[in-house]
Symmetry: C2
Subunit: 416 residues, 2 copies
């Protein structure tokens, strides 16, 4: 059990209506137990296509996981394809029907049980993993040492099925190789130069270790992966290699281990017992959202404000009207006053502020689209920066700026 | 030119480190010019795999678009595979090098031009579409009436290449069928019942029209797609079918046409000249972010606050300490006082508030994880609701609640 193949079924992905987040989640969970996703097929909901893709998938890997195509509506054909592929038939499964019944009753929807009855029809050779958060069950098929799991497509049904049922099942059934991953987050060096600097180190990595470059905004994440039988040995080996790497790029490393920037921030703020607040204009609440998406953030995040209208900046954060009149609302000066007002309002060690024009459509103040000023205030010290990113679409702009502000804050905290 | 196949290249997607958003964007853009994405392959950065996948892709469609695998680092092998597949060689392209030079100079990075020199090496038979937002160019290859475009993987480089260069190129080169899509957003009916209700209507749709069900949280989006030569005729035809559909589910339809719920909200608030503000605890700024992600939102969104710490709720929004002590901070009463305080602070027609426990880790007040109270206040009327979603992960919880709050608000506005 080394290689898995994922099949995402459904026109909603192919048509661009939905972003496929299931594959990302499943790949991460499998990676943790040493199973590598070799390929992902995203296909439409047609019986022949599903059968052909199952065939190709089993040529590439021993484990196939499909998501989507199991709902109660007309355009769901996975179950039929599954039965045909495995020379099986579909029949009502009593246990599954009882589970469905309990599920519907608990949600006060016993009245539509009959309408969902066909959800309890599964291939007769399948092993069912019951779905506690939806009506479509997960079906496992096994043939000649190859395994397939078919899940519904709704992300919050997929997650518990994978995490609580399928991963533990696979762990127990196979005696899997251990895998160990560390992420080194690097800022301030373009990817090409970084590659030059660490080339010799990379070429000298042991055979069981690999390196990947993952650029995120202006940050580059170096992912070091090691696989082998002995967990302790892998950890030791990875740590050794990181110790060799660090002297080469030390000044530019902002974190080792944690991946998402909001998690890195969480570690630092928690360790140093610092509190933080945000005053966001052009990022519209995204920085606050990123910070609060980390469990335990209430320990350090005291609050945020999105004073979108200029009048609210003046009223709630105490920006002076003169500053706005003199420099416009998208200016270094307003960013500074926002950070100061925010720090006072929420009474925190650190405050962050953003003011800019996300576009499209020129801002009220005549500044160009894509301009943002942001201030990072740590106690009585502050740094204000300007970014100009006219090529980014509105949402990308909001996300990019939010990433950059948190990244800069981490840089300041790490180097002080 | 009817069917396209997308190939996403790179281990960062397969390993679960990055969510593939490029495919979503490209599929949407192609759909608008009548090209259907038939399949998406997500593969690793290996020359043989890339070549094999190009082969399979061209069996499925006339147009292949690859993203990823064009950066300056070691693990990028797309260009080599491309040249081998098309029996070509890679050579320095002067025009591309000059473009790269200008690009680097403008960004003040002329010092590392040489390091990026190999980015200007392209297959000799390729037509280059210059990348104005990155160093890797887009290469088009053509053979026996089949077309391939190879793009870098960075989303903000992909978007302008697709939108400003490739789509216009395809539109001009081929005389494509028109496509027309309408979305009908339905709330308050489970998918299975909805399918029953509209079954006869669906079966009677003309041959050039298709229907898809796209569930988003508790909302179901019905996507009606029509294709044909005459744009006006398509619009008319779709409108006719929608007029037949509406009487069947009228009370549950919250919008026709716009897709994202924040866009639907934008239409309604703009039309009715209503202003809005938000006070978010457990959603951490996501509602504000959703609202402000729409261009032009500054017309109706005056501001938001994320009073994360209880003390800040009391200080800034004027929640009474007695209410918190008596009912705890996660309560109907606190949600109501938050909405009232928010409406006053920002002086808006509408205010939204959320207070809950996103988990994991029990909230400070002993309420269970997954509980949220939210209040929608429209002038002097308010509705407070409770949700209990213990199965959702923290970020999913924040997103789900945010969607639901906006959806409920739309429901209230539409039915009043």
């Amino acid at each position: 059990m080394e290689n898995a193949v994922l099949i995402t079924i459904g026109d909603e992905i192919l048509s661009g209506n939905t972003v496929d987040t299931n594959s990302n989640f499943i790949a991460t969970e499998l990676k943790n137990i040493g199973i590598k996703v070799k390929q992902i097929f995203t296909i439409s909901d047609e019986i022949e296509t599903i059968k052909n893709t199952l065939q190709k998938a089993f040529e590439l890997g021993d484990l196939v996981i499909t998501t989507g195509g199991l709902g109660p509506t007309r355009d769901d054909k996975t179950k039929k394809a599954l039965a045909e592929f495995f020379n099986d038939e579909i029949a009502l499964d009593e246990t599954t029907f009882n589970h469905l019944k309990t599920y519907m009753e608990r949600r006060g929807r016993a009245d539509i049980l009959e309408r969902n009855r066909e959800q309890a029809f599964v291939p007769t050779k399948s092993v069912v993993f019951q779905n506690n958060f939806g009506t479509a069950p997960c079906m496992m098929m096994e043939q000649n040492g190859k395994l397939s799991f078919s899940l519904p497509g709704v992300p919050y049904e997929v997650k518990p099925l994978i995490k609580d049922q399928i991963v533990p099942y696979l762990q127990e059934k196979f005696n899997l190789n251990y895998i160990h991953t560390r992420i080194v987050s690097v800022v301030g060096i373009p990817e090409s130069i970084l590659a030059d600097i660490i080339e010799d180190w990379e070429l000298a990595l042991p055979e069981n270790m690999t390196l990947s470059y993952l650029p995120v905004g202006t940050r580059v994440k170096l992912r070091i992966t090691a696989s082998g039988e002995n967990e302790e040995r892998l950890k030791e080996q990875t740590e050794n290699e990181i110790q060799k790497l660090l002297p080469l790029i030390e000044k530019n490393v902002i974190a080792i281990s944690e991946d998402k920037i909001e998690n890195i921030l969480s570690e630092i703020l928690t360790e140093r017992k610092l509190t933080i607040s945000t005053a966001e204009s052009c990022t519209g609440g995204e920085i606050a959202k990123m910070i609060t998406s980390v469990s335990g953030s209430s320990k350090y995040f005291l609050g945020g404000i999105v004073p979108y209208a200029t009048e609210k900046k003046i009223k709630i954060l105490g920006i002076s009207r003169e500053t706005v009149d003199q420099f416009t609302v998208v200016s270094e000066q307003v960013a500074q006053e926002m950070a100061k007002g925010c720090q006072k309002l929420f009474d925190t060690d650190i405050s962050l502020s953003t003011t800019g024009v996300a576009g499209p459509g020129k801002g009220e103040d005549g500044k160009d689209i894509g301009t943002v000023f942001y201030t990072i205030r740590i106690r009585d010290q502050e740094v204000t920066s300007k970014l100009y990113m006219p090529h980014l679409e509105r949402i990308d702009f909001m996300n990019f700026v939010s990433q950059k502000v948190i990244q800069d804050l981490i840089g300041l905290l790490v180097n002080n």
